[in-house]
């Protein structure tokens, strides 16, 4: 216990938390740049670091970025990250009434509360799930991988076919390199740089960061303006008791955030929307939502930050990312030689407890930085895009080079940048791609083991009760959004006389 506390409060580790949260808030606040982008860009900075320090940096970025999206949501009516999509509804009207400071303080306090509650959930549930997971066999792990991808595809809503295609592509890219079971080469095309596969870090940098550079460059050229019009930040006058008046909303939103975050493949955006909708439904004054209600900011911000600890539950216990942002963390862990999964807990090492404990401090750091520097962060969203794009490109190129100190990964990053740009422009969701990419090897090896166990019969996945249950959940998570979108499409058809384009 003492060792854990000493590591958590070590000066370098605290510094990494501060830097990570600061970078996360700034990047999260900039419209168009999201948490996945922030973690991808900061990932190369961790290569030379100790594993704990690097995780604190990236977790700080994750938590800070999730909160940071609310700054642009409130001040410029554009969510900085998808997780802040529901904060716009009441945050911006509040700012229009001259209460931007109140909205930002509410968002910060709510984010802090959601984050801390999710830390407790992580601390309590993760060891329990890890001990259950040691009893999981290959069929259960394969089914969990399928569930993770199905949930990510299901989130794509009305684009399940596109989501499935992206998931297949992610799995396909994960097969490049040497087959760990048979030792044969796969899709190397004679290139020895691909012996260990395509670097997932280079792919993530390309798909999220470089694609963003291309998109912003094209938009900036066409629009030829880079001024961001934003409402003025006003000093906050709201008291804490006015925010904590909605403690029930905070609790319920935290629960939604934790449940949604713990389901592989989902994320902060879903939690935020669900928390907002439920808060409005249960509210005694639902008519106030959308007009600048404090409760309308409390609910989504608590919900989205409550996912931050919860998404680590499946990651640390099962090795399956809770959402696409955390999928990038797997890249960081891989670079550090750490394999997430039940063995982290079973080995008796205190590493995982240092990570879980550190998340508490990250949330405290986020609260402190938010309280003292929100005005500075609010001004930073006005950074011109013309400065931003070449800077991001520099970071991408240097980051890709840092992976293995060779230029091959830069080319990989660039190609995946083009890949990400083309598919994003055509409305293909990237979350299933990235989750499939990180789960690919785990999925294939467990599929192989399962079929060996069952002498080639796929029935093993449905005859084992836990595996069957997980597959049923996977089908539900895939089918429910599709059924919902078909019902909405039929409503549209009745109104318009045909499917919409």
């Amino acid at each position: 216990m003492l060792e854990i506390l000493m590591v958590m409060f070590a000066p370098l580790n605290l510094l990494m938390m501060v830097v990570g949260v600061c970078a996360g808030i700034i990047i999260g606040a900039l419209p168009g740049l999201n948490v996945i982008f922030a973690i991808s860009v900061l990932l190369p900075f961790t290569f030379g670091m100790d594993s704990i320090a690097s995780m604190y940096l990236l977790l700080g970025t994750y938590c800070g970025g999730t909160f940071g999206g609310s700054i642009s949501a409130i001040l410029i009516n554009t969510p900085g990250t998808p997780a802040a999509c529901a904060t716009v509804f009441d945050g911006y009207p509040l700012a229009q009434k001259g209460r931007a400071g109140d909205a930002l303080k509410t968002a910060l306090i709510s984010s802090f509360v959601g984050g801390i509650i999710s830390c407790f959930a992580l601390l309590f549930f993760a060891p329990q799930i890890a001990s259950m997971a040691t009893k999981f066999g290959a069929p259960e792990i394969f089914s969990l991988c399928v569930f993770g991808m199905a949930a990510a595809i299901g989130i794509a809503g009305d684009k399940p076919v596109k989501g499935l295609i992206m998931a297949c592509m992610g799995l396909a890219f994960s097969t490049v390199g040497i087959d760990s079971s048979e030792g044969g080469q796969r899709f190397m095309f004679g290139n020895m740089y691909l012996l260990a596969g395509i670097s997932s870090v280079a792919i993530m940098l390309g798909v999220f960061a470089m694609a963003e550079v291309l998109d912003k460059s094209v938009n900036t050229f066409q629009a030829d303006e880079d001024k961001v019009s934003s409402l003025t930040y006003t000093k906050s006058t709201i008291k804490l008791k006015e925010i904590f008046k909605y403690w029930k909303t905070m609790l319920w939103s935290s629960v939604y955030g934790i449940v949604i975050g713990a389901i592989p493949g989902t994320g902060g955006a879903v939690a935020a929307m669900m928390s907002y909708n439920e808060a409005r439904r249960k509210s005694r004054h639902p008519e106030k939502f959308g007009t600048g209600s404090i409760e309308g900011v409390v609910a989504p911000e608590t919900g989205n930050n409550a996912t931050t600890g919860a998404t680590l539950i499946p990651l640390l216990t099962l090795g399956i990312p809770g959402d696409a942002s955390v999928a990038v963390l797997i890249g960081a862990l891989t670079m550090q030689g750490i394999i997430p999964g039940p063995s982290l807990f079973a080995s008796g090492s205190s590493w995982v407890y240092m990570i879980m404990g550190g998340l508490f401090i990250v949330n405290v750091v986020m609260l402190l930085e938010g309280l003292f520097f929100t005005k500075l962060f609010a001004n930073l969203i006005k950074v011109p895009v013309k400065i931003l794009t070449p800077c991001i490109m520099m970071l991408c190129v240097v980051g890709a080079f840092s992976i293995a100190s060779n230029a091959f990964n830069i080319i990989v990053m660039m190609l995946f940048g083009a890949f990400g740009y083309v598919f994003r422009k055509n409305d293909f969701p990237l979350a299933p791609f990235i989750i499939a990419l990180v789960l690919g090897k785990l999925m294939e090896s467990n599929l192989r083991r399962s079929l060996i166990l069952s002498q080639g019969s796929p029935m093993i996945f449905v005859t084992r009760p836990i595996s069957l249950l997980i597959l049923v959940l996977a089908v539900l998570s895939l089918a429910y959004p599709m059924i919902r979108s078909v019902i909405e499409e039929k409503k549209h058809q009745k109104q318009d006389g045909g499917p919409t384009a």
Partner: protein
């Protein structure tokens, strides 16, 4: 309607890629070895075959869905000028080539020279006229160099 046409083109390309990988790339790129697992036929090729099969089927379903949606579209398509079409295609290609050029210079001459050349070229391409934008970007470039080379010991 424009998006539906783009979707159709992409789905067709994906079907072709799936077929190419299924029938050509997988047999060529993945040698078959005798499996240590005896009778079980799960080889190095099994998973890739499964993936490209599913991808091909999904793309075919996408084509069918798109055809159905196109038949029901009632809104007239907005006609785009040749200039707009060229801009939408050539602009991303131009910026992509700039980025590739930066990467090649980085490999050949190192970070410092590559960045020193890239920054003004990129900013001019973005029609940037304010001198302090260039100064700030160079400042960021120098900071990145210092952090990666001296703090993280990455040989730039």
């Amino acid at each position: 309607m424009k998006q539906l046409k783009k979707d159709m083109v992409l789905y067709i390309i994906l079907v072709i890629i799936s077929l190419l990988f299924y029938f050509v790339a997988i047999p060529q790129q993945i040698p078959l070895r005798s499996s240590w697992s005896g009778d079980i036929t799960f080889t190095s090729r099994t998973f890739p075959y499964l993936l490209f099969f599913v991808m091909g089927v999904a793309a075919l379903i996408g084509i069918v869905q798109t055809v159905i949606k196109i038949r029901w579209v009632t809104q007239p398509e907005e006609q785009q000028g040749i200039k707009d079409i060229l801009q939408n295609i050539l602009l991303p290609v131009y910026f992509f080539l700039l980025a590739i050029g930066y990467a090649m210079m980085f490999d050949r001459f190192g970070y410092a020279i590559a960045t020193a050349i890239m920054i003004p070229v990129y900013l001019v391409s973005l029609k940037c006229k304010k001198w302090y934008y260039y100064a700030i970007t160079y400042g960021v470039g120098i900071t990145v160099f210092v952090v990666f080379k001296f703090l993280l010991n990455i040989p730039l």
